[in-house]
Amino acid sequence: MPRSQPSDEGALVEALRRGDEAAFAQLVDELNGPLTRLALAHVPSRAVAEDVVGDTWLGVIRGIDDFEGRSSLRTWIFQILLNIARTRGKREKRALPFSSLRRRDPEGGDEPAVEPSRFEGPRGEHPGHWARPPVEWQAPEERLATEAARDVMLGAIAELPERQREVLTLRDMLGYSAEEARNALDLSETNQRVLLHRARSKVRAALERYFEEAEA
């Protein structure tokens, strides 16, 4: 992802080619977390994700001499990771019952953001308005930082169709821009936004249930 100026990037590529360990360590510090997080969008466990990231760094170390600068260095690294993670993810899926239960449509189709039963029906007094409106969450920052809330978020993410999980990971978890996510995942702008919308909506719904249960 384009996080630095092209001139810095040229110097960084040169440093990596020379074998500058400090430059490499800095790059690892910047990207290791994001890469592992993105790998986890494809593979079911942290151990496998770490393998994928290890293989990615190996690909970077071996491939840096051939890097042509047609994309940014970071985009190139993310693409190496995505290739490895997608291949590995397919293999893991064959072995794992949990993902055989996954949805058939990888993009999630045309699902509503909120259960239709939350709204008044066509014969209600105010059709399409909340029948059971959301309420403000109490102390959301502290509560969202708890182990239990994290598990709820990770559980909801694990349930997402793959493309939604990729977009959510890059946009909301890693904070990349829409354009960076589109480039890394090769998506149209509209598609990127639709996937993000579906994914966020589902994580919100899971958190809403969590807050409601905690307050009940």
Binding site: A15, L16, G19, D20, E21, A22, F24, A25, V28, N32, G33, P34, T36, R37, R46, E50, V53, G54, W57, L58, I61, R62, P112, A113, V114, P116, F119, H126, P127, G128, H129, W130, P133, P134, V135, E136, W137, P140, E141, L144, A145, A149, R150, M153, L154, L168, D172, M173, L174, A178, R193, V194, L196, H197, R200, S201, V203, R204, L207, E208
Partner: protein, 88 residues
């Protein structure tokens, strides 16, 4: 998702526009409708807030994760295969 909404916007329509609203991708007319709807609707105001908290929660979750094992391994592999320029 940015198609103009006919007549008064309802809540079911609003929730489908929330991402476009947060992303700043609504055309002006629809944005005004969405803002007018928010002024009158506590439920949708809470919904929008929940969505913002969700995004912040996801961000904080990712920021708190650490993966030290892969870091050390990657640096060791680099040193082995390409190293030599660490001392300068």
């Amino acid at each position: 998702m940015t198609a103009p909404v006919s007549e008064e916007m309802n809540c079911q329509q609003f929730v489908e526009l929330v991402t476009d609203l947060i992303e700043g991708r609504l055309v002006a007319g629809v944005r005004l409708e969405a803002e007018a709807h928010l002024d009158d609707c506590h439920g949708c105001t809470a919904y929008l807030q929940q969505m913002r908290h969700t995004i912040a929660g996801l961000r904080a979750l990712a920021a708190s994760e650490e993966f030290p094992r892969t870091r050390e391994r990657a640096i060791a592999v680099f040193a082995e295969l390409r190293g030599g320029d660490a001392a300068n």
